[in-house]
Symmetry: C2
Subunit: 200 residues, 2 copies
């Protein structure tokens, strides 16, 4: 019992953030209150606008407040390449490699034990996107290099096998068991250039 | 160029928080958007209410939205003991030791090179508080065990020397050069019980 109710409420709310425990939340709350009230108010406004305004891109399903995300709205990109990832953070990671094709963002990976099948992660929407676009020659499966990510890539490759498309998998330059978004840009660039067709 | 404007704005605003860099801010923003929108909205509300509502306790100057903070409003505390600290986080740290006297919260420490003299950190208000209360027998100087914290404690002890009060300094169980709020509760409890009068 040493913080007032509004400060305790702020500390509790800050613990919502990933990786923020009790002590870190206390430091954050008091530092904002003591030294940066305008920064705290700016963060409140940014949170409100983002939580209420951000939806999903009509084409790639990444997070955006617009009908199309920056990647889908960009007319100069290569419409023959589609990169499939597990989440919006992976788009950011793949952009760092210099890739300038198109994207499709799944909702994670297949996870039968959690009841997450193809529909739950958006694979039917991926197949619709590929059919409607009609320009893709290669689908780069850049799901995470985990057991589930590999299984998801393999599942999609099977669906694509009779569609006249190359389904490729990013090379194992990425460390096994890791998360794509934690890999440095150079390693990920290597794994992109070393990608190869999936043999079923 | 891979996040939409509202998401970029949120990432920038999250970097306001202490210890949060670009990559951490990205993860926080996307995790809130993908998995916990209600948590994000709750944080926005808590920030707004705290930034607009929290002021300073009339007696001890710690952060609170009420006229008196929980420590000053508590009638069961020892009115003969006053503990002087550098900031609100230190009140929390000292509470962990079991101390149940009163507090006065300075705005940091004396720092002549930064132009921070006694007025800037609230020492005149501390002296007024002690005079008006009239019940304190001992003033525990629990400023940080840094060069500036020691100098601040010594300065206050000199002001109190002809007031018939004991001015004590927390014992050097706390590591020199450290920050009070980072010390574990046991060490801080030791340094409280080992406090001794300041000899000028
Ligand atoms: Zn898009
Ligand atoms: Zn108070």
């Amino acid at each position: 019992m040493s913080f007032s109710p509004l400060i305790r409420q702020l500390i509790d709310a800050l613990r919502t953030l990933p990786g923020v425990g009790q002590k870190t939340a206390q430091r954050m709350a008091l530092q904002l209150l003591e030294r940066d009230r305008s920064g705290g108010s700016r963060l409140a406004l940014a949170l409100t606008q983002a939580m209420e305004g951000v939806g999903h891109c009509r084409l790639c399903r990444t997070l955006t407040e617009d009908d199309l995300c920056p990647q889908c709205a960009d007319m100069r990109r290569d419409d023959t390449l589609l990169c499939v990832v597990e989440g919006p953070m992976d788009v950011y990671a793949v952009e760092q490699t210099g890739y300038r094709g198109r994207y499709f963002v799944l909702k994670g990976h297949l996870s039968p034990l959690d009841g997450l099948g193809p529909e739950a992660i958006g694979i039917p929407q991926l197949m619709t996107r590929i059919a409607e676009q009609g320009t893709f020659a290669e689908v780069i499966l850049a799901t995470n290099p985990t057991v589930e990510g590999e299984a998801t890539a393999h599942y999609i490759a099977q669906l694509l096998s009779n569609k006249g498309l190359i389904a490729s998998r990013i090379a194992h330059g990425v460390p096994l068991g890791g998360e794509l978004e934690l890999v440095d840009g150079g390693t990920l660039a290597h794994s992109f250039s070393g990608r190869r067709p999936i043999t079923l």
